[in-house]
Symmetry: C2
Subunit: 216 residues, 2 copies
Amino acid sequence: MTEKSATGLELPVRRPQRADARRNFDALLDAAREAFARNGIGASLEDIAQAAGVGIGTLYRNFPTRQALFDSVFVGEVDELCRSADEVASLPPWEAFATWLRRFVDYIATKRAIHEALNQDSEMFRSCRAALVVAGEPLFVRAQKAAAVRSDAGFDDVLRMISGIASAAFVDEGQRERVLGIALDGVRAHPRTAATAAVTSSRDLVSGGRPPLLSR
Amino acid sequence: MTEKSATGLELPVRRPQRADARRNFDALLDAAREAFARNGIGASLEDIAQAAGVGIGTLYRNFPTRQALFDSVFVGEVDELCRSADEVASLPPWEAFATWLRRFVDYIATKRAIHEALNQDSEMFRSCRAALVVAGEPLFVRAQKAAAVRSDAGFDDVLRMISGIASAAFVDEGQRERVLGIALDGVRAHPRTAATAAVTSSRDLVSGGRPPLLSR
DNA sequence: GCTAAAGTCGAGGCAAGCCTCCGCTGGGGC
DNA sequence: GCCCCAGCGGAGGCTTGCCTCGACTTTAGC
């Protein structure tokens, strides 16, 4: 975490030198991860400091801005997610992709902050999106080449669809799984791909009009 | 809006008697709709009063709590959505259902507050969910009976899926449409329904385990 | 017109959260 | 063991938003 992460992102914070300070630094990161997960990006910094057993001044010493703190937490989370893409690489194309997506969902479902972040627009968030694309897109492309994924969908499309679903409220885990299964069936290649076009104005489902990944 | 809405919900506020007061009441409702749409449930009441050209005291006179104000706005919005279910009833089963869902998406996509509300748990929100179910479920059931919708999906499943997608950020309208099309393809009945089950633990996609609508 | 009832308004008290500042403390190099 | 400076912490000033209250204004019925 000190200077570079596996995502290749520079962080604006440095892990301190002294042992006691390093303990505090780590405690703050833990408390922040917890708080951001539960309360979203707006979690109270004062509460985070308290949860870490540390004064508010110490929080600010280590993370001069809320953004710096959030970025540090966030990069760690995204890192973890990216790494899990390697673990599934040996599965058959569709299974690899679907399994990764399911991890993605499990991972962000309970973390309000990650979803908020994915929908935001800032340097750091763009970088994290980019890291996710680097990790996940090969799985997607492989599945698409194996004709397991419909050809008129882009990786970015699927990622956004899944992240929307992941962040919605569900009655229980079973429902989330069921809904995810439905959505993934839509992603799979099958003969009736253009069936819904009947109700859509004709421009909607034609392939090729897809905007570049990560634009905006 | 005064006492009963088309959703059958009682509102805790009364439209005032005097002409000037009624003007203020309506201005507040408009300003609030606007503010909730843009900033979500947490929009500043002081700003809303100002936007309505009215003192903060007047806001509180008409809507004693933030909840009262929000409910009044929200019920109006949901009402409108419910009414639109009638307009599509004459289309063929699938088209009727899909068209309504698309309206649903168009409607809530830009309204943060509605999505937040749909994920909340309170008397009013439950009532509004219920109103939406009353309006939309017949369309769903009809499509399912016509074998246009897979049999292992519930209306609540689809509603939550769609509302998640609607609230996600997209690059542009085209992407939203495209993603919605993908998701709806998953909802349609087709022979390979259980295809993704391979990667899912066996309990996940079996039908019949669906919990009651609106529970929790 | 008059007047009572209805309605308006915003100052101000309160709470929560942000962030700075500076006197104090104790870790660790010598 | 000493000492110095990295690090600590929390009081306090600031901002933002909530909500109340009571002195004032306007409407509408007569």
